[in-house]
C-alpha cells in the first residue's frame, strides 16, 4: 500500500524526472588537491562519491515535508530552524506565486538539509568534497587558476536575487554537476569547522589550519578572493540559521 502511494506521488511530482524517484546523481572520481587554506603540505584526499546533479528544489522539498511532517513550516522545532525557515512559502506544502517549483529550496537550516539527505539514504557533502567538485569549470577538473572561471564566480556574487533562477540554468561542469556557482550558497556537513571569526584581518594572524597567513597574505590572486567569500558565509551561519540565498544538495558514498 505504502509503495503504491509512493509510486503515485512519484508519478505526479516527478513525471519529468528519472523514474526511480531519486534525483539524478553523477560519479565524482576522487583525487588529491590543495584547498584554499592549504599549503602544499596540507593536501586533501577525496575518495570516489556520487553527487546530486542539481540542488534540491522546492518541488522535492514539498514531497519531503509531506512525508515527514515534523519538518513542515508549522511544525518545525525552533531548535532546528530559526524563524525564517521556509519563510516565503505560502503554507506547509504550497510555495508562493513569485516562487518556482524548479528553483532551489532555500531558507532551510542545516538540520533540515541533513534530515532530507538522510531520508534519501544520502548525506551532506563535506566542505572539502564540495570545494573539490566546485573547482571545475566546463572543461577542467581544476579551473581555479583561470581568470574567466574566477570572474564568473565573482560576478555571480554581485548579481541580485539569483535564488529565483531554476536549477540547471547555469553551466554543466566537468563532472556533470550544475549550479555550484550562480544560484545559491549550499550547506556542507562540516561548515562550522571553518574558523572565520568575522574579523578577517585577525584571521590573518591566526595560525590555524584555515586562513593561515600564507593563504590570506598571498590572496592577491582572484582564486582566493572568490573562495574567501564562500568561507565567509560558512563562518557566519549557525546550524539553525536559514537564508534566502542558502540551499543544499546531497552526496552518497560510492
Amino acid at each position: 500500500m505504502n509503495i503504491i502511494l509512493r509510486l503515485a506521488i512519484c508519478s505526479i511530482f516527478f513525471w519529468s524526472m528519472t523514474a526511480n524517484c531519486q534525483s539524478k546523481m553523477t560519479n565524482i572520481k576522487g583525487g588529491t588537491y590543495t584547498p584554499l587554506y592549504g599549503r602544499d603540505s596540507l593536501q586533501v584526499t577525496i575518495g570516489d562519491f556520487l553527487m546530486d546533479v542539481y540542488p534540491v528544489t522546492n518541488q522535492e522539498y514539498i514531497l519531503f515535508v509531506t512525508k515527514n511532517p515534523k519538518w513542515k513550516k508549522s511544525k518545525i522545532i525552533r531548535l532546528f530552524a530559526d524563524e525564517s525557515y521556509l519563510l516565503d512559502w505560502k503554507s506547509d506544502t504550497i510555495i508562493n506565486v513569485n516562487q518556482d517549483l524548479k528553483s532551489a529550496v532555500t531558507n532551510v537550516s542545516w538540520f533540515a538539509a541533513k534530515a532530507y539527505c538522510n531520508e534519501k539514504g544520502k548525506r551532506l557533502p563535506t566542505v572539502d568534497e564540495w570545494e573539490y567538485v566546485a573547482m571545475a569549470n566546463k572543461k577542467l577538473p581544476d579551473a581555479r587558476k583561470l581568470k574567466s572561471y574566477n570572474e564568473y564566480i565573482l560576478s555571480w556574487y554581485e548579481k541580485p536575487k539569483t535564488f529565483k533562477k531554476t536549477v540547471g540554468s547555469t553551466f554543466k561542469n566537468y563532472w556533470g554537476v550544475y549550479d555550484l556557482h550562480g544560484l545559491v550558497w549550499e550547506w556542507t556537513s562540516d561548515f562550522n569547522s571553518v574558523l572565520v571569526s568575522g574579523e578577517s584581518r585577525k584571521d590573518v594572524d591566526n595560525d590555524s589550519n584555515l586562513f593561515c597567513g600564507s593563504a590570506a597574505i598571498g590572496a592577491t590572486d582572484l582564486m582566493n578572493y572568490a573562495a574567501f567569500m564562500r568561507y565567509a558565509i560558512r563562518g557566519s551561519v549557525k546550524a539553525k540559521y536559514t537564508l534566502r540565498n542558502l540551499g543544499f544538495r546531497c552526496v552518497k558514498d560510492n
Binding site: S84, L87, E151, L154, S155, Y157, E158, K159, P160, K161, T162, W185, V196, S197, G198, E199, S200, R201, K202, D203, A216, A219, T220, L222, Y225, F228, M229, Y231, A232, I233, G235, S236, V237, Y241, T242, L243, R244, N245
Partner: protein, 485 residues
C-alpha cells in the same frame, strides 16, 4: 536607599574630578579624554541617521545618553555615472553610509541588520570604537539576521566606519564605508551650514564611461588603477542640482571622509581657504589651509566662512581624478558681490614684454611677412594641436566634456547652431546656464587668449571632428565677431 547613596557618592566624585580638572591647566584636556569612560549616561534616545550630503542635528548641550543606532545593510544597484550602473553594498542604502552623530560618553547600542536578499555576510568596524576589531568581531552577521553590540565613545573626533569581512578590500571598494562623529562635551562650535562628503575610488570591468551595469574588477583594485574617483558614491553627486549651498557671510563646516579603498585624497575647494581644519579628524586644529590630506580610512573637518558669491569647485587636487575620474563637487554661494574681496575682471589689455612697438625678433633670417593661407587640412592639424593644449582639460580628448560640469563639444547642438556665438564664447568667456544636447550646464569658461588665426584653427578642428557640421571657420569671421559685427 543603597542605590541613592551610590548616586550621591558618584556626584561627589564627579564634582571632585571637575575641580581637579580645572586646577590642572594645560593637561586638563588629556585628563578629560581619559575620564570619558566615567561619564554617566542619562536616558535613552534613538540616533538620527542621515544620507549624504546631510548630517544629523548637532548634540549641543545634551547629556551623554544611551544611543540606539539601527543600521541596515543593503546590496543594491545604483548609478555610478550617466548610463553606467554598479551594484553597491551599502550601510543604510547610501554610499557613503548613514552619518552617525554622537557625543563623548554616549553608550552606543548598535544593531547591524543584514537584509535577507543579500548574498554575503557583513560586519562593521567603527574607528570610534575602543575594542578588538572596532566592533567587527561582534557584528559579523549572515544575510537575514541581525547582531547587536554596544560601545562607549571615549575620544572626540570624526571617524570612519567600514565593513571588515573577507575580502575586506572588495567590501570597501563596493561602498561599505561612512562616518561617525563624536562631539566633545557641549558640542562643536555652532556654524551655519554643515555637510557630509566622502571620497571613494571604484574599479570597474569597463573603463571610465563604459555604459551599462559594470562589475567590480578585482585585478584593477589590486593594481590600484581606479576607473572612478568620486565624492559621495557617484559622478555628479555634488554637482548641478545636487550642489551643496550656502549664503554669503555664512560659515560652512564640511565633514570629509575618505573611504578608499586605495587612494589618498588631496582635498581642496577651489577659490576658498579653510579657516580651520581638524587635521585627520582629530583635535589638532590647523588654520589657513589650502589643501588638506585625507588618508584612506581617515577624515578631516574643514571650516570656512564664505565671503563672496559664486560656484566653488570641490576637488581632489590630484587633479586628473577631478576632471577625468569624477572627484568633483560644487558649493554654490548666493549673496551680494563684494568687489573689495574679489573684483572680477577689472581691465584687460595686450601684454608686450618688449614694449608697445618692437615686435620683430632680431634675426638673421628673413622674416616672412606675408603669411601663406592655410589649407583646411593644415588648419585642422594646427587646431588639434591647440585643442590639446587649451581646451582638452575641460572638454576632454574626444570633446565628450564632463557630465554636469563641462558641456560636450562632440555632436553638440549648441555648438552647431551658431558659429559666431561659439567664437564669441572663446573671445569673451561664458558664465551661466546653457542647455547642450538636452542637458543643463551651469559653469564658467574663461576668455581664451588666442590670436584670431588660432581661434579660426581650433574652431575649424572642433567643427570638423566628432560628428559636428564641418564648418571651416575663417579668420575674417573671427575678426567680425571681435569687432562686434
Amino acid at each position: 536607599m543603597e542605590k541613592l547613596k551610590t548616586f550621591i557618592g558618584n556626584i561627589g566624585l564627579i564634582a571632585l574630578t571637575a575641580i581637579t580638572l580645572t586646577s590642572c591647566g594645560n593637561t586638563s584636556e588629556k585628563k578629560a579624554t581619559t575620564n570619558a569612560s566615567k561619564i554617566a549616561i542619562k536616558g535613552t534616545m534613538k540616533a538620527e541617521l542621515t544620507a549624504p550630503p546631510f548630517v544629523p542635528t548637532p548634540v549641543g548641550n545634551r547629556a551623554a545618553k544611551k544611543l540606539i543606532v539601527d543600521m541596515e545593510i543593503l546590496e543594491k544597484e545604483g548609478t555610478m555615472a550617466d548610463g553606467t550602473t554598479y551594484v553597491y553594498w551599502t550601510f543604510g542604502g547610501s554610499v557613503p553610509g548613514s552619518f552617525i552623530r554622537t557625543r563623548v560618553g554616549d553608550e552606543v547600542e548598535f544593531t547591524l541588520s543584514n537584509h535577507p536578499d543579500n548574498k554575503l555576510p557583513h560586519n562593521i568596524d567603527l574607528h570610534a570604537v575602543t575594542g578588538p576589531g572596532g566592533g567587527a568581531t561582534s557584528s559579523f552577521v549572515a544575510p537575514g539576521h541581525e547582531k547587536t553590540f554596544s560601545f562607549k565613545t571615549l575620544n572626540p573626533g570624526l571617524y570612519v566606519y567600514h565593513c571588515a569581512t573577507a575580502p575586506v578590500g572588495m567590501h570597501i571598494a563596493n561602498g561599505m564605508y561612512g562616518l561617525i562623529l563624536v562631539e566633545p562635551e557641549g558640542g562643536l562650535p555652532k556654524v551655519d551650514k554643515e555637510y557630509y562628503i566622502m571620497q571613494g575610488d571604484f574599479y570597474t570591468k569597463g573603463d571610465n564611461g563604459a555604459p551599462g551595469l559594470q562589475a567590480f574588477d578585482m585585478k584593477k583594485a589590486v593594481d590600484e588603477d581606479a576607473d572612478y574617483v568620486v565624492f559621495n558614491g557617484k559622478v555628479g553627486a555634488l554637482t548641478g542640482d545636487n550642489a551643496i549651498t550656502a549664503n554669503v557671510g555664512e560659515t560652512v563646516r564640511l565633514y570629509v571622509g575618505n573611504g578608499g579603498p586605495n587612494l589618498v585624497s588631496s582635498f581642496h575647494v577651489i577659490g576658498e581657504i579653510f579657516d580651520r581644519v581638524n587635521v585627520e579628524g582629530g583635535s589638532m586644529v590647523n588654520e589657513n589651509v589650502q589643501t588638506t590630506l585625507i588618508p584612506a580610512g581617515g577624515s578631516a573637518i574643514v571650516e570656512f566662512k564664505v565671503d563672496v558669491p559664486g560656484t566653488f569647485i570641490i576637488v581632489d587636487h590630484s587633479i586628473f581624478r577631478a576632471f577625468n575620474k569624477g572627484a568633483l563637487g560644487m558649493l554654490k554661494v548666493k549673496g551680494e558681490e563684494n568687489k573689495k574681496l574679489y573684483s572680477g575682471i577689472k581691465q584687460e589689455g595686450i601684454y608686450h614684454p618688449e614694449g608697445g612697438t618692437i615686435q620683430e625678433m632680431p634675426n638673421n633670417q628673413k622674416v616672412k611677412t606675408v603669411k601663406k593661407k592655410k589649407t583646411l587640412v593644415e588648419k585642422i592639424a594646427a587646431g588639434k594641436n591647440l585643442y590639446t593644449k587649451t581646451c582638452f582639460a575641460c572638454h576632454q580628448a574626444n570633446g565628450e566634456g564632463i557630465p554636469n560640469a563641462f558641456p560636450p563639444l562632440a555632436n553638440s547642438d549648441y555648438l552647431n547652431a551658431d558659429v559666431k556665438r561659439s567664437i564669441g564664447i572663446i573671445l569673451n568667456g561664458k558664465t551661466g546656464e546653457i542647455t547642450v544636447n538636452g542637458k543643463k550646464y551651469n559653469s564658467v569658461m574663461t576668455k581664451q587668449t588666442l590670436t584670431d588665426e588660432e581661434i579660426a584653427d581650433v574652431m575649424t578642428y572642433v567643427y570638423n571632428s566628432w560628428g559636428n557640421n564641418k564648418t571651416n571657420v575663417k579668420v575674417s569671421t573671427v575678426q567680425q565677431v571681435k569687432n562686434g559685427h
